[in-house]
Structures are given as C-alpha cells and as structure tokens.
Amino acid sequence: MSVTFRSRSDDTPILECRNLSVTYSGRRGDVPAVVDFNLTLMRGEAHGLVGESGCGKSTIALAIMRYLGVSGRITGGQILFQGRDLLSLDAAELRQVRGADIAMIYQEPMASLNPSLTIGEQLIEVPMCHEAVSRREATKRARAMLERVRLADGDRMMRSYPHQLSGGQQQRIVIAMALLSHPKLLLLDEPTTALDVTVEAGIVDLIRDISAEFGTSMLYISHNLGLVRETCDRMTVMYCGQPVEVGRVQSVFSRMRHPYTRGLFAAIPSLGADKNTRPLTAIAGQLPAPGERPAGCAFGPRCASFVAGRCDQGTIPLAKVDALTGHVSRCVRVDEIDWLAEPPPREQRSTDVLSESVVSVSALTKRYQQVSANDGLSFEVNRGETVALVGESGCGKSTFARILMGLVQATSGSVTLSRVELSQLPVTKRSMKTIRSLQMIFQNPFDTLNPSHTIGAQIARVIRRLGIERDEARIRARVLELLDLVKLPRQFADRRPRQLSGGQKQRVGIARAFAGKPAVVVADEPVSALDVSVQAAITELLIDMQRREGTTLLFISHDLSVVRYLADRVVVMYLGQIMEQGRTQEVFAPPYHPYTEALLAAVPVADQNMLKRKVLLGGEMPSASQPPPGCRFSTRCSYRISGVCDVLAPPNQEFASGHRIACHLPREHLLAMQPVFREASQKTDYVS
C-alpha cells in the first residue's frame, strides 16, 4: 500500500460518530436513513464508506456537515469532531468549523461551482473568510494551491469561469478550494464517479498524495470497492443505513465476514477473469424500500445463509472478527458460515462463434459540422460473437451505434448488415427485415421505457410493429413468454415503468430488444447506471439471452472489467478513431496500444490478488472539433515520438490475426511492453 498508515500517539480521534441516526421526513412519514452509525477516524487516516445507492453513505457526510436540508434531521447519537460535539454548535461556531476544519468534495464538480463567479473569486474567499487575510494574500495562496493540485496555467485558471474547464480540472479546483483552509477532515462524496476512468485515476492519485502530504483525515465515500481499496486505510461497508462490516481495508478484503460484502465482491467482474472462468453472482432480491427495513438483519431476506428465527430477531450487534485490527461484522452467524466455500461452479459456457461476418464496417466517418465523431472506423463482427466498443466519453462509440441503428447517417464509408448497406439508410427507409434483425438496449434504465405506457403494452407494440405476431392473443402470450425469459413476474405486464426498479426496467429493455429475435443486438452501456449487485444480474441475463438466441452482441462500454468479462473481441476507441482491436485476451495483454495501457492501469481493482502498474496520463482530452494532427492520442501519450506521432497518421500494426494496433512505436517496443496486472505474489514495483 502506498498510503501507509502513519499511526500517531494522539488518542483523540479527529472524528467520532456515536450511534448516529438520521431520519428524513417525507409525505409518507419518517424514513430512517442512517441507523446507529459508529465511526472513529484518527488523524491522517483515510476511511472508506462503501455501499450501494440508498445505503445512507452520503447522508452521513451531510450529517457531519450538519447540512441535511429541511426534511432531514439527526434523531440520535453524537458527532464528535476533535472531541467537540458538532451537534451542539450554534450557527456561528458551525460556520467556523465548516470549510475551515472540515471540508467537502462533491460528486459533480460542475454543479458544485458557482457558474457566474470566476474560479479565483471562489477560491480566495475561503482564506479571506476563515483567516481574514487580505485579498492579495488570499490570491497568492489560491494561486499556490492550484499548483499543488497540479493545475497548469494557474493565472488563466483563476480568471476562468467553471464552464470553461473540463470535469477533471473542475474537480481539482474543488479539491483546491477544500484544501485552502488546511482542514483537518476532508469528506469526499463520490469525487470521481462523474469522471472518465483516466481522469479518475489522476484525481485518485492526487487525493492519495494530498492525504500523505497534508496529513488530512479523509472520509471517502464511494460505491466502488476498488477505489476504496486503493485509497483508504479502513473501511465501512454500509447496507440500509447501517454499517455491516468495518475494519482495515486489507483485513476486510482478505477476510470478508459479512454475506453482503461477499456478495458485492462476487458481483464485480474482475479484470483477471472472464465469463467462462468466473461467472458473476448477483445478490438475490432487491434493496428494501426506505422505511421497510426488515426486522433483525436488514440483509436477511437476500442472504443465502439466512436462518429463520435467528437472523430476523431483535437487533443484530457488531461481532468481532479480528480484535487486533478492529475488524467487526454485523452478522449473527459470523462464526458459523463457511467463509472459504467457493460458489458452486457453473457449467462451462461456450459460444459458437462462426467466422461469418454479420456486421462489416469499413472506413466509416461521421462529421457534425467541424466535429469528426467517427473517423475511418473499420472492423468486422461475426455471427454469435460479442464485440465490445470501449472508450471514454466523446470517443465516438455511441455515434457509431446511432449510425448502425439508422438514427443518423454516416458522412462516408460503409456499414453493412448481412451485406445490406446501412450507412446512408435512415431507419424509416429500412426494410422491416433489417429493422427486426437489428435491435438496441439503452443505457439509462430510467429512460429506456416510455413512462406513460404499461410494460406489456410496450413489449406488445414491438411485437406488433415488427410484425412478429398479428393475433392479439398471441401477442399477449408472446409478451408473457418474454417476461418469463427475462425473469420478471407476469403481473409486470400491467405495471407502469415507475413501479419498477432500475434493474427490472433494464430487464424489460432486454426483453424488448430480443422480442423480434434479432440477429444483432447493440447494447449501449446497459449496466453502467445500475448498482453493482444489479449489474451482475443484468450482465448475466444478457449473456444468457445472447447464448439462447445465438445473437450477435455489440457491447458499448467504458467499463473495462465488464468488457473483459463478457466480450469475445474488443475495439478500443479514442477521439473517433480505433486505437486497437483484437480478441479480448490479446487486447488485455501486451503488446498494448499506449492508450489501452493507460486505460487498463486506470481501472481501480478490488481484487486483493491483483497488482497494478502505475501509468498516468497527462493533459486533457482534446476537443473533438480540433483533433490533434497525426495520432490523435499523441498529445497525452508518454511514448510520443516528436515529429512523427504528431504529424503522421499511425499505421495499423497487426500482431495476431485480427489484433491490430494503430501506433507509430516500433513493433519491438510494443512487444516488449510489460503487462499492467500481475498476480500479487510477483514483483514489487506494482502498486496495490
């Protein structure tokens, strides 16, 4: 671990929460958001708070700040900051604590900055307010702080408005703002969730350095186990407003002693595993609705080790797992469950990939005025295969999907589906056969279904529209059959989307896509908006459906773990161009394209057994309206050959059959690249 825990003899914790309870009052009565929360945070310590959405982790941060809005209130417990009860402070005292002693960093940097004040103005008011320094002095400090958060061109930054900066820059500004008053405690509420992976890696790196440099204590809130593992010393896993497992990060990851923690871990695809070697296991059931917390263990109804009469009785206390490290778990059966048992092995799943090309893309280009969203894409997709398009936002992967679906038309080049040219054919002019054989699954579960129509009606409309069935009774029968296939109860046919959870909606989306027995399904980030435990279920469902129907799957994602997990072949895109493509194992192992390498290194890893090499990308992603000449990645590439990379378009170097890398680097150089990941027992220059 790079963040080595510097234990001090100072006994007073920076922050201590004792039996903290927070309740929100709503129209349907009071809803407890946090119940009996305990936390001790020592000086210089970084504590991770992990859990899925709705588990109360953000509420804790806001409660510490005493900023719960009109509906939220603290119903019990204490929050001690350096031994002082924050709950007893009056408004003026509170103001002195806020920003000066405790600072917060937010999930959406853009929304957190005032759009009509310059960055400088927003920065300097912190020291001016808390330390009553002069404007000049405050400006000097702010300017210096910008350098420490590694923002170049600080003077320009100071004069800029938030909208003129990129998301990564904005988050650095927010961090700088938080650090300006040298707070003792930093609350980070999902600080990287809204950012791209490579940007996230930079921010995480910065946060790690800051905590080392300033000795600030941190409460790091995230849904991402990997991030917590990489940034924190201790962690708390939250479920339904309660901590279920607390301990040193290493201890928790190596000895998970709560079924929920284990479930979470099992639901995350690992960069080292694919669908055939380690299938994902979803957590059964759903998160209970707020206010409907079951008696006893909140996780009980979803737990495989549930024992009636024990798990659903009374209050479950935190049981010690390891007294030395303070590792505790809220499980009554912590000593009974066989924690080492492997999940039952699944049947070996294999896909019948035929070498028959279904979708063929060649030199496809799409320009919106100046912006070239796609530039000369060429690749093949074979029948029954899963091909993943990977890249960060703005790389043009969604544009390609829109061209394929006929929602926009290409500027030049061709896309064929079963030898039918589609690049210039809008969907309204396509034959019913083409439409039927090409369907799509969308990213946002809250958007994918029309809120006004029942689930049944929406699926039925597809069946009717695509001409699969004409008889009303048979349509109805087919609807119910599809619901069965995506493992949704039949009653859902009469429900409206708002009565469904995100995962359920995505199941309906899958049912709708597969209703017409399509040859190709395009899935645009189908799981990225879902909680971890649901992601796994949906991913598995997708794989099942694909296998059952023999469908070709075009999977668009920014999440390399998921791609690694389910794709047969991968196409890596950057700024509208393909950087690398090949079979999954080939892409995820050297030789890498420098961008692929950076992308892989940026992924936070939750697996204790994996070690990761540090590769950081410099600079910002250039604007798509002014792509750099030569290799588009050249502005951020650490291997850049000046005079070549930024002048000439890179050649495609073929390494294995179909494994192509668009790079100027000499073949030998590429072949000599080290893998990004290693097993833990190996070398030491890997970070973990």
Binding site: M65, Y67, V70, A91, R95, Q96, V97, R98, G99, A100, A103, M104, Y106, E108, A111, S112, L113, N114, P115, S116, L117, E125, V126, C129, H130, Y161, H163, Q164, V174, M177, S181
Partner: protein, 316 residues
Amino acid sequence: MRHLVIRRVIQTLLIMLTVSALLFAVFDSDQFRKKIAVAELGNFGAATLSDSDYQAWIVSKGLDQSFPARYVTWLNHVVHGDLGVSIEKDVAVSTLLKESLSSTAVLAFYVFLIMIPVSLMLGVLAGMKEGSILDRVISVIAVFTTSIPQIATAALLTVVLALGLRWVPTKSAMIDGFSFRELLLPLLTILIYEIGYLVRMTRSAMADVMSSQYIRTALLKGLPYRQVVLKHALRNALVVPVTLILLELTGLLSQVVVVEVFFQYHGFGRMLFDAANFGDIQVIQAATLVAVCVAVASQLLSDIAYVLLNPRLRVA
C-alpha cells in the same frame, strides 16, 4: 457572444420586416383604402364617393402599383417617419404617437421605478428560505394579486380609494396637466399585477438557486449566510428576473390598454383603443407597428442582457 448577439439582431430585423409586411398587407384592402380616401377627400360618407373620384385618388396616391412596389413605398414613408394621418383626429399619426407614447412612458417610468426594487426584494426574501412563513405569506399574496384581472383591480381600487376613502379622483384624464394623484390609480393597478408576477418569478429563481449544489458548496465553505446570498445567490438568481423585467416592456403595452381606457388616461393604449373603435386605420397600423418595435426591441434587449449576465454565454 458577439455571434449570438448578431444572430439575434438579424432575427429581429427579419421579424420586423415580416410584421411590417403583414401589417401592410392586412390594411391594403379596398375596404380600408376607401375609408382613407373618403377621409382625405373630405366627404361625409362613403356613399357619396364616386368610383371615378376613388380611382383618381388611388392613382394620385400611387396605389395602382404592384403590391411589392406599394409596400416598398409605404415602408420608405414609414422609415422616414411618415406614418399617415389620423382620420379621426386630423393629425399626423407620428405626432399622435409621440404624444401618447410619452404619456405612457411617464406611467411606465413610475411602474418600473417602484416595481423593480419592491418585487426583487420581496422575491429574494421569499425564495431565500423556501417554505418559511415569510415565503408562504409573500407567495400567497402574490398568487392573489396575479389572479385579479386588471379590470377588476381597477374597479376595486376605484371603489376603495376613490369612492370609499376619497383619496384620489376616479379618473385620470389629467385635464389640468400632470398630477401624480391622478396617476396613482393606473399606477397601482398595473403594479399590483406586475409586482405579484415578478415576485413569483424572482422567488422561484431564487429558490432554485438556493437549492443548487454551488450554494451548498458556498455554505459548507463556511461563508456567512449573508455573503452567500448576496454574492453567490443573487448573481445567479437575478438573471431571469432582470430579463423578465425587460420583457415586461412588452407586457406593459398590453396592460396600458385596459388601464388607460378604464381611467381615461391619455396614453398609447387609449389611443390604440380609440383608433380601433373608430376604425382609424393608419393609427392602428402605425400603433401596432410601433408596439411591435418596442416589443421586439425589449425582447432583443432581454436576450442580450441574458447573454451578458450569463458567463457561460458571455465567455464562450
């Protein structure tokens, strides 16, 4: 930013051209022309206007040209300030407009003078703490005042202030010259609605801003509440009200019709109303044109103000 403004200016010009063409076309019919002819030839009724006289008049006026030529001629006149002559009042329309617009401008001046500070202040106070007692009281009053149609406001104010308390005269013809006492009823009538409307808009803008994340950031930075409101919130919350205030110039042109007619105040609205009643074509045409000019200009100003107040648009 310059690009945005230029684009808006061009759009505005295009709209003005279209509106002027429309207005010209609408009043370019035989029926209306005959009326002007009758008036200009000084005859008592259209019945006595012989066809030959009429045709001669048309030729003398150059109205026998093609439509586009006539339009261009007319537009040329308009641009040079020749808006025709009022049939009813025997005065050049431009003179009439100048007088009536200046009377209305006096009214408008006082409206804005009072409306802007009062409504912005009340709106900000209400929106600052959504759901507080102050907010509820202000909001409820605002809903009421925006629900009373102006004729009802005018009637009720007359009943209370003029008939009941006898503080002000019932009418505002200002026959002995300008009198603030007489201006009071029309002024209040407009203000009651306008302030309510603007308070509601300011309140919701302020409430939106106060619930935004950057206000949370500012508060959690430990800044004093006053500073958060004055420095962080107002700047963003007032963008919409300011643009709305400029747009209200248009709204005012509508409202003065009712108010001026009710209180017999000699302004633009009254003039337009009289002209409409009399069928004073050239006055209607010119007044509409001027009204549209003012409206379009206020829309343009409002858009430009929006761009200027919004750093996102100002600093591209």
